[in-house]
Structure formats: structure tokens, C-alpha cells
């Protein structure tokens, strides 16, 4: 079933909410995912901030029902958060199909409503991929520039972690919460890894290992991805709500269709639609586009004008180009002993040992030790053609002794991997939908094979029957949208400068993984959060200077 038709229609107050623009706003933020929420929260209080989001404000009381959707087979993953339908139509036209609606949520909280919440810092070399590895450009900023913002981002999200990872970049202080203890299956992996000389270490989670800022500790629902009913997993509603408490205004179901500008290269208004069919103009002194790695370039392209016929902020011609995701590499099988999987939906150990061996032919990659290998009994119970004793016997025999490893691999930035506007397909508002051409090069595919070799050697050392390998042919995206408005000091080579301000428009910033010039192999959201806090400081500095 398609979920979008359901999106919050049950709220009878949909049309009663005032969605008219805020007069005299200082800052307009487009998008209420973690990037937009963190910018808004940091600026609210001192500034009049308005956040426009394309999707609804979800009712927290519905989280258990969404969890039921996550478990019941009649719902697809996009249905859990009402993604799909004409609002979210898209085209996939590259070498590889890109399942965009599995990879995002629209609404207050953004894709963190669905995310898994693994939060690592990029490595120092990730910021200098061109000079250190011979691949792609260097970032115009270094790890040192982001380091204090990483620490701040960890406090904001609430990260449980330890300092036992010898391969992680230097950090100045412990994580805000103690790490989650290793799982039982981690202890099995540890023996195998030790005999192979492979290091295991803890992994940072944006998930509460103890009560944190009024939010619950993890209680083990086990459905983290796509929904955490307890709120122990961070999602961006935390910062949207805090921004509102500090005076920000949030307008939901308000897709921005274009940004308008004046003759002085300043954005003047965000034109948005509302459910009653009206269109409004939100004016502000500063604009922060935080609509995710696909909708951000789409909005810039939709905002083409006589002055900017190729789209706004697109003097370089690079808006939409260099679309990257992380590639999944995995392997799994069974042991002849219990492995205790699927109690929780997150992992507790990883291996970054091979990450910095990266060079021109080998991409950085990391390895993960899963706690959710094999079937979850409650899910399999609902989709068999058996019941009674035969079902119980099947569940017993299916569950219990699976093991699996995952991993993420960097892909090289490639201008032909890109987001453009579809030629003739439009969304529910009549705007051209995003068209994704996703291509993956040999460096990433070869590295997936290398990751698979290590994974299989660990599983074999463990004594597992290896039953599946997700290699170059079976790989898929990790749902991290990066690169489409890349950062560069040079206006010909990038869309935004080192402060994430667009080269072409003086009062427009982008807070998103779309600014990543290269992607590393670490999940992106901690870096998105760090950059968002830095953007907020940049906006504040400009506003106080009156420029």
C-alpha cells in the first residue's frame, strides 16, 4: 500500500492550523530534519526563526502503531512514516536503481525518525582525500576545524560511546554517555577476531544508554530502524521542539517550491504551498536550506530564474552532481550454537582497522558486527502458511544461531552520478520530480570485495556456515545522500564555500551532507550535525554584522 495518502489525514485539525508566513523573520530554515532542527535551535532565542517542512508533524502517540507497521508484513518500510505517493514521486535512471523512498522521511524530525542512529566522526584523512589518497578534492576545512563542533554535536544528539577505538580520530573529552555493553554475539566474534589479529572496539550510538536530557534510556524494543517508540534513539523532533520552546515557528506540510532572489544576489523569499492549496512567501534576512541531499539540489534547480537560468547557486554547474552514498558490504551464516540475535536493533561493536589503508585504488571502509542477524520470530510468524505447532517448530528452527557482519564503503565522487529534474514527471504540486542517476565505480566495487574477504574469514574462523555474501553485485546504498552541493573555496568547483554559504547568494547557506566533497565511509549524520552547528554560528555572525 502507498502510505502518503495516509499522511496524518487522521488529524482533523490539518486545515485549522495557521500556516501563513511569519512577519519579520530573521532566518528561514527549509527542512526540519537534524540539520535544519539544529540550526533553528541554535539561532532561536536570539533570532526570529521559521522552519518550513514539506511533511507533517507526526503525532508521538502513533509510534506504537508505526512500530506495528514495521513488524507487520503488509506494510513496506516507506509506509511506516507515510513516505510515497505523488508527493514523493521520483525517477531512477542510473546504472543502479536508487530506492529513494526507502532512504528518507519527510516531516518534522526528517529521516532521523527512521534512521539507525550510528554516529561516528569522519577520520582526519577523509578531509584530505585528494592529497592523502589521490581521490577527489580535499575539503576546504580540516578535522581540526570541525573538532569542537563534533563534540558539541555529540552533546546535542546524546551519544553513548567509549574511547577504546584506536583508529578513531583524536577526541578531547569522553562521550556524553557510557557506551552500550558488547552483545553476547560480540563475545563470540571477539575470539575469532583475536585469533586473526583483527581489532574490535565499541561504536558510538545516538541512543541513550542512560536517561539523557529528559529522554528515556533504551528499553529494548528492537525496532530502532524504522521507529523507536521509547524516544531513546535520538531524532530531530528533540531539537525542533526545543527551538519552538525558544520561540521558533514551525510550519509543517509546507513544501518550499522555489527560492526567490533580488538583483543583489540575495534570496528574498521561500515560496511554499499549504494543504489548502494556497501558496505563500516567507521572507527573511537569511535562508538555510536543509532539505536533505536530494531535495536540496532539487529546490535549487527548481528555483531557476532569468538571472540564474541553470538554477540558483549553480554558477559552478555542479548543483546535483557528485551524488554519493555509502555501499553496503556484508556476509552472514549460521553457527551450531545460540547467538541471541534481534533483542535490540542496533550494533555494539565495529572494526575501523582497515579504514585508513585507503588509497587511489582502495576506498576507506569499516566493518560492523550485527546484533540482528537472521529472522525475527515475530515477523516470520506473520508471513508463513503455517500455524499452531508447525509454526512454533519452524520459528524455533529458524531463529537462534545466525551471525552476520556488515560494512560501509566509500564511493568516489563522480559528476555523472547526479540528481537532476525529471523531464516530464511532476509531483502532487506539479513540480518536476528528482531524477537520480546513481553510478558506482570500480574502486568501491573492488573494496566491497576486500571487505567481503575479511568478513568471510572472520565468519569461517568463528566456525560459521557462510550462507550469504552481499558483494559487488548485491550491494545497495546505506541511504546517505551526499555530494550534490559540494563545498569548495573555488566558486567554479563548488556550490558552497568553507562556511557552507552559497558562492552565488550572500544570505543563503546549505546545511546537509550535500556539501561533502568526498564521503569517507562513516555514517554522515554526526558530521551533518557538526556542520549545522557551524552554519548557525556563521549565520549569527553575518546577521550581527548586518551583512
Amino acid at each position: 500500500m502507498s502510505g502518503a495518502g495516509l499522511a496524518g489525514d487522521e488529524r482533523s485539525d490539518v486545515d485549522a492550523i495557521d500556516r501563513t508566513p511569519v512577519p519579520d523573520a530573521d532566518v528561514c530554515v527549509v527542512g526540519a530534519g537534524p540539520a535544519g532542527a539544529l540550526v533553528a535551535d541554535r539561532l532561536a532565542g536570539d533570532r526570529d526563526v521559521v522552519i518550513l517542512d514539506a511533511g507533517p508533524r507526526f503525532d508521538p502517540a502513533d509510534r506504537l502503531a508505526r512500530q506495528e507497521r514495521a513488524i507487520r508484513p503488509s506494510y513496506g518500510r516507506p509506509d511506516v512514516w507515510d513516505v510515497g505517493g505523488e508527493r514523493d514521486a521520483h525517477e531512477s535512471a542510473g546504472d543502479r536503481y536508487y530506492p529513494l523512498n526507502h532512504a528518507r522521511v519527510k516531516g518534522v524530525g526528517g529521516s532521523t525518525l527512521h534512521w539507525q542512529g550510528m554516529v561516528m566522526r569522519l577520520h582526519e584523512d577523509d578531509f584530505n582525500s585528494g592529497s592523502e589518497r589521490g581521490v577527489g578534492p580535499d575539503w576546504p576545512i580540516d578535522y581540526a576545524d570541525l573538532r569542537p563542533y563534533y563534540a558539541a554535536a555529540e552533546r546535542e544528539l546524546g551519544v553513548a560511546g567509549a574511547s577504546d577505538n584506536p583508529y578513531a580520530p583524536p577526541r578531547e573529552e569522553p562521550h556524553p554517555m557510557p557506551p552500550f555493553e558488547p552483545s553476547y554475539s560480540d563475545s563470540l566474534f571477539a575470539e575469532a577476531c583475536e585469533s586473526l589479529g583483527i581489532d574490535m572496539h565499541s561504536v558510538p550510538n545516538a541512543r541513550n544508554s542512560e536517561p539523557y536530557e529528559g529522554r528515556s534510556p533504551c528499553v529494548g524494543y528492537g525496532t530502532c530502524q524504522p521507529v523507536c517508540p521509547s524516544g531513546a534513539k535520538y531524532d530531530a523532533t528533540v531539537h525542533v521542539e526545543r527551538a519552538e520552546e525558544r520561540g521558533a515557528t514551525v510550519i509543517d506540510r509546507a513544501p518550499v517550491e522555489r527560492l526567490e532572489h533580488d538583483g543583489d544576489d540575495r534570496v528574498t523569499a521561500a515560496v511554499y504551498a499549504t494543504p489548502d492549496g494556497e501558496r505563500h512567501r516567507q521572507t527573511a534576512d537569511a535562508f538555510v536550506v536543509a532539505a536533505g541531499g536530494v531535495e536540496t539540489p532539487r529546490l535549487l534547480l527548481l528555483s531557476a530564474s532569468d538571472r540564474y537560468p541553470d538554477g540558483l547557486a549553480n554558477g559552478s554547474g555542479h548543483v546535483g552532481e557528485f551524488f554519493m552514498d555509502h555501499l553496503f558490504a556484508g556476509a552472514g551464516g549460521t553457527l551450531d550454537e545460540p547467538t541471541r540475535q534481534n533483542h535490540v536493533g542496533f550494533y555494539t561493536s565495529a572494526c575501523d582497522q582497515f579504514y585508513d589503508e585507503a588509497d587511489e585504488s582502495r576506498a576507506p571502509f569499516k566493518l560492523e558486527f550485527f546484533n540482528y542477524a537472521g529472522p525475527s520470530p515475530v515477523e516470520s510468524a506473520l508471513s508463513g502458511d503455517d500455524w499452531g505447532d508447525p509454526l512454533r517448530d519452524r520459528l524455533r528452527s529458524e531463529y537462534g544461531n545466525h551471525v552476520a557482519m556488515g560494512g560501509l564503503v566509500e564511493q568516489r565522487p563522480d559528476a555523472d552520478s547526479r540528481v537532476t529534474l525529471a523531464g516530464d514527471r511532476t509531483d502532487d504540486r506539479g513540480n518536476p520530480v528528482p531524477r537520480i542517476e546513481w553510478t558506482v565505480g570500480d574502486r568501491a566495487l573492488d573494496t566491497i570485495e576486500r571487505a567481503n574477504e575479511i568478513q568471510v574469514s572472520i565468519l569461517e574462523e568463528l566456525g560459521a556456515d557462510v550462507e550469504w555474501v552481499a558483494g559487488p553485485d548485491a550491494t545497495g546504498p546505506a541511504y546517505h545522500h551526499m555530494g550534490t552541493t559540494r563545498m569548495s573555496d573555488d566558486p567554479d568547483r563548488g556550490v558552497v564555500d568553507a562556511d557552507c554559504r552559497t558562492h552565488d547568494l550572500g544570505n543563503c547557506w546549505i546545511a546537509s551532507s550535500s556539501v561533502f566533497p568526498t564521503s569517507g565511509a562513516m555514517n554522515p549524520t554526526l558530521t551533518i550535525a557538526a556542520l549545522a552547528l557551524r552554519v548557525a554560528d556563521g549565520v549569527e555572525a553575518r546577521l550581527s554584522r548586518g551583512t
Binding site: 507497521r69 553476547y184 506473520l382
Partner: protein, 186 residues
């Protein structure tokens, strides 16, 4: 193994006692909304009263639950006491139970609760609920699978005792704490 009230409470805590489940059953809600406001679905036989729903689901549970479980009736009753509210999901359960009983009457001459276990099992298979994929908006087979068979299986296997029966005392959907994943096998 014995199902307890704690299991029923846990299943409710996992799945939500009420209204929110309406998310999954818009069509049932639309059906009742679109009807003549004067119509009473119970009176015209298109929906069962809650007592009939309880009797029917308890009878179905004795077929779809494993035979070595005790305490099934009380478990199902406590679960349904939380689940049968005025949500669209509950309306879907009531309507589907009425439909199933209608078929039981025409094919086997008695409602589900009055059939013997073998006939109940046969009825569910004749309806097609064994092979069907659950769908709240689908065919009779798909709706029986969704609102009757899977409603019961979900309640059982998301509860601690149901999980334990197949080797996982903290199944998905059950907030059984953040320690069980660390423990080795018993």
C-alpha cells in the same frame, strides 16, 4: 508454558491498546464513515459485538497457537479488552469476525466458536487465510489473515512467553530492556 496477564499487558504495551492502530486501517474507518450515519453495523450483522469477537478469537487461538500453551483464553481476553476500542482497527476486527462467522455458518452450519478444533482449522484454510498475505484492505482471505490470524500471532510472539517459546525472551516489539542482548544462552 503458561501465558499470563503480564504477557497480555506486554503485548498491549508493544502494540498499543488503542486508537493509534487506526493508522493501519483507514479503509475500515472509511467504510464505517461512508455508511449511512443511522446504520448500526452490529445490528445489520456486518460487525460482531465484542462478546462474539472474544469467543471467536479465543476459538481461533486454540488452533493457531501451539498446543502446549496454557492460559490462552485469559490472554486473548485481556489483550482484546485493550484492543477492542473505537478505533478503525477494532472496527476492522469486528467486521472480519462477522464475515468469518457468516462463512462458518454457511459452510459448517455453526459459528466458529461452536465448531470443533479440526473444523475451525479447516474453515480457516478453506477461507484461504493460511496461504494469504495479510492485507487490511484485501480479499476476505487477506483480511482474515490480518485481523484474525495475525492479530493473534502478533500478540503471542511479541509477548515474553511467546518469544521464549521460540528462544527469545525479549522479542521485537516488547520493551524487555537493554540487558538481554548481552546475556548468553540460559
Amino acid at each position: 508454558m503458561e501465558l499470563t496477564r503480564r504477557d497480555a499487558a506486554a503485548a498491549l504495551a508493544a502494540l498499543g491498546a488503542s486508537g493509534g492502530v487506526a493508522l493501519g486501517a483507514r479503509v475500515a474507518a472509511d467504510r464505517s464513515r461512508d455508511g449511512d450515519p443511522g446504520e448500526d453495523p452490529e445490528a445489520d450483522g456486518t460487525a460482531s459485538d465484542d462478546e462474539t469477537v472474544r469467543e471467536t478469537l479465543t476459538a481461533v487461538a486454540s488452533v493457531v497457537y501451539p498446543s502446549d500453551l496454557a492460559g490462552v483464553d485469559a490472554f486473548v481476553e485481556t489483550f482484546l479488552a485493550g484492543r477492542l476500542d473505537d478505533s478503525a482497527h477494532a472496527a476492522g476486527v469486528r467486521e472480519t469476525v462477522a464475515e468469518l462467522n457468516h462463512l462458518a455458518n454457511s459452510w459448517h452450519g455453526a459459528p466458529v466458536a461452536d465448531l470443533d478444533a479440526a473444523d475451525r482449522d479447516r474453515l480457516l484454510r478453506e477461507v484461504g487465510a493460511d496461504a494469504a498475505d495479510e492485507d487490511p484492505d484485501g480479499t476476505t482471505a487477506e483480511r482474515v489473515r490480518y485481523y484474525v490470524v495475525n492479530e493473534l500471532l502478533l500478540a503471542l510472539y511479541a509477548s515474553p512467553t511467546g518469544g521464549e517459546l521460540v528462544g527469545i525472551e525479549n522479542p521485537q516489539g516488547h520493551p524487555g530492556g537493554a540487558e538481554s542482548y548481552q546475556r548468553g544462552p540460559p
